[in-house]
């Protein structure tokens, strides 16, 4: 039986100015993106940010309204899904309920007319450590097992790019952690480009080499997990990845490698390399774990009041109110001399200049704040 003719494209995946409209609604807005060959790439964003649409356009399940998609030098923008050497792990696995696990994994190989079906299927099943379940039906497997079969079914075809659409969304927390490590191991073993779509920032940070944070059809920022967390470039990224304290302020001077910013009649210092705007109106940011309940640092706020305190094992989380009535989150490590603070106590907070960053002040200070843990 002659197999389906499939594109042999290889190389980096490049999206060039891709847009997708549904009527007047813009799901993906002029998005350009390069995913290096062999990397583990995550598209992270809240639901409705366009990340799944982007994935479906790469898979060929949606056609871009504008723009082109290339793998290496081959344009695959309008190539039919069944001719692309791209495979998808679907959100709810979409295994074929009428076929055995073996036949599920063999499906793609048979369509392409591959000869060594048996050997390839066994190899793929062993990769996900489920070789002993080959004769079962999907309904007889647990969620975690189905998930791994979905990965095996896609990977057995040795695609150039593997797309994962919220693949761990239906699993419980413990299993999800386990599968994160598992997927990372598989990716290293097979060396295929993985594009992982998720709304779970922790999942993206654990697994991906590079993360693109998406919001309203655009990429807000792209980089390694550390880059995004330590040096966010927008208020959305700062709030969506972990927690962040942002304070509106004004740049007074830029000299000697640092900027001096005044906010609410306090003066703070920021390294110039961490100021991502030319505007004088800025949002001053600092992560909660960088704050200390002390008053000796370069940047400090005195006369704060403890509003709430919760002990969570490795750290204690304080919610303190600044003199200008803004609430600030502080994480204190439980390593040395516990501050035995109670609600209502007066405290000062301080942090180092190099932990501060400054963003363009024209943004919504709460962008992305309550989106991280929905769904």
């Amino acid at each position: 039986m002659p197999g389906t003719k499939i594109s042999q494209a290889a190389g980096d995946l490049v999206l060039n100015r891709v847009s997708k409209y549904y009527g007047d609604f813009c799901a993906v807005d002029d998005l350009s993106l390069t995913v290096p060959d062999g990397s583990f790439f995550a598209l992270l964003g809240p639901s409705g940010c366009g990340k799944t649409t982007t994935l479906r356009m790469i898979a060929g399940l949606e056609e871009p309204t504008q723009g082109t998609i290339n793998i290496g030098s081959t344009d695959i923008t309008t190539e039919k899904p069944y001719r692309r050497n791209v495979n998808t792990v679907f959100q709810n696995y979409a295994l074929f309920p009428h076929l055995s696990i073996y036949e599920n994994v063999a499906f793609g190989l048979r369509r392409r007319g591959i000869k060594d079906v048996k050997q390839e299927v066994e190899k793929a099943l062993n990769l996900v450590e489920l070789g002993h379940l080959a004769e079962r039906k999907p309904a007889q497997l647990s969620g975690g097992q189905q998930q791994r079969i979905a990965v095996a079914r896609a990977i057995v075809n040795r695609p150039e790019v593997l797309l994962l659409d919220e693949p761990l969304g239906a699993l419980d927390l413990k299993l999800r952690r386990q599968m994160q490590i598992e997927l990372k191991r598989i990716q290293m073993e097979v060396g295929i480009t993985f594009i992982h779509v998720t709304h779970d920032q922790e999942e993206a940070m654990t697994m991906a080499d590079t993360i693109a944070v998406m919001n309203q059809g655009k990429i807000e920022q792209m980089g390694s997990a550390t880059d995004l967390y330590e040096s966010p470039k927008t208020a959305f990224v700062a709030n969506f990845l972990g927690q962040c304290n942002l304070i509106k302020g004004k740049v007074q001077s830029r000299a000697g490698g640092k900027a001096v910013v005044t906010a609410k009649s306090h003066t703070f210092e920021v390294p110039l390399s961490r100021v991502s705007t030319d505007s004088d109106s800025v949002l001053l940011g600092v992560r909660p774990e960088k704050l200390r309940l002390d008053d000796r640092g370069v940047n400090s706020i005195k006369e704060c009041v403890v509003m709430d305190r919760s002990f969570i094992g490795t750290s204690t989380q304080y919610l303190v109110r600044a003199p200008w009535d803004q609430e600030i989150v502080v994480f204190e490590q439980n390593d040395e001399g516990l501050h035995d603070l109670r609600v209502g106590d007066k405290v000062s907070i301080e942090w180092d200049a190099e932990h501060t960053f400054a963003l363009d002040g024209a943004q919504d200070i709460n962008a992305g704040a309550d989106l991280g843990d929905d769904e």
Partner: protein
Amino acid sequence: MAFLHAATSSHSNSKNALRSRGLTPYLLLAPGMLWLITFFIIPIFSLASTSTMVRPDGAPLGQYVQKFRFQNYIDAFQANQAQYLRSFIYAGIATLLALAIAYPLAYMIAFKSGRYRNILLVMVVAPFFTSFLLRTIAWTQILGDDGPVVSFLKTLPFVTDSLRLTATPFAVVSGLTYNFLPFMTLPLYASLERIDPRTLEAAGDLYANAFTTFRKVTVPLSMPGVVAGTLLTFIPAAGDYVNASILGNPNTKMIGNVIESRFFAVVDYPTAAALSFTLMATILILVTLYIRRSGTDELV
């Protein structure tokens, strides 16, 4: 089992509560059981006993005595072989036609109808708002000599002017197909609608083109609907007599017509009863073989 479990797990309850809980399932079953006994079990035994009766010499019409004459079955079958065969052939053709018409229809409603889905489903069921008899009689007009179908066909070059459609096998099979179409469409729709569209996308993702996806995924997943639909069409169609008597001629008689005339015109109850039992048994055997072969029990 559930009853046993309930009884053993409620040691501490008072005896009274235990007894009432134990009775509840039987009380709930009672109306249905009573109905079945009155209208199914008793009649079927009376039919069975009638089937081996004989009419004594000189007795008036409709009077029979029990003689356990099993030869009745052989006599009845031998006299009506042609009608038996015809029943199963007509029902078989009607079932295949209904499947061919209903599958694309159900597929369209399940996957492509969007917000018109409910309207289309109502349209499938709408014929039930009119009597079965009236609808069948309407077909005599549709297929009549001056009706739209014949008039249209006569405009075609290779059709002779003497063309008639009423009182033909074609009319009977058309009537059967039409009347049982909803029984085919609804189960097909139900099983197609249950297919997760993502499994179809997954097939496309795994190098299957539209036709292969249909053949390898859609069809196997809709098999429960195909089996249910064909049974719901074939079984009543094989025993039907209305279509043959309204749309047919003496040479298109089905076994249902024979049974009907034996009961009500000839008043030959034993033969009618024997024919009924033979029909039931044949259908039962065919259905069992069919379900065995299609192996749909594995699907769920």
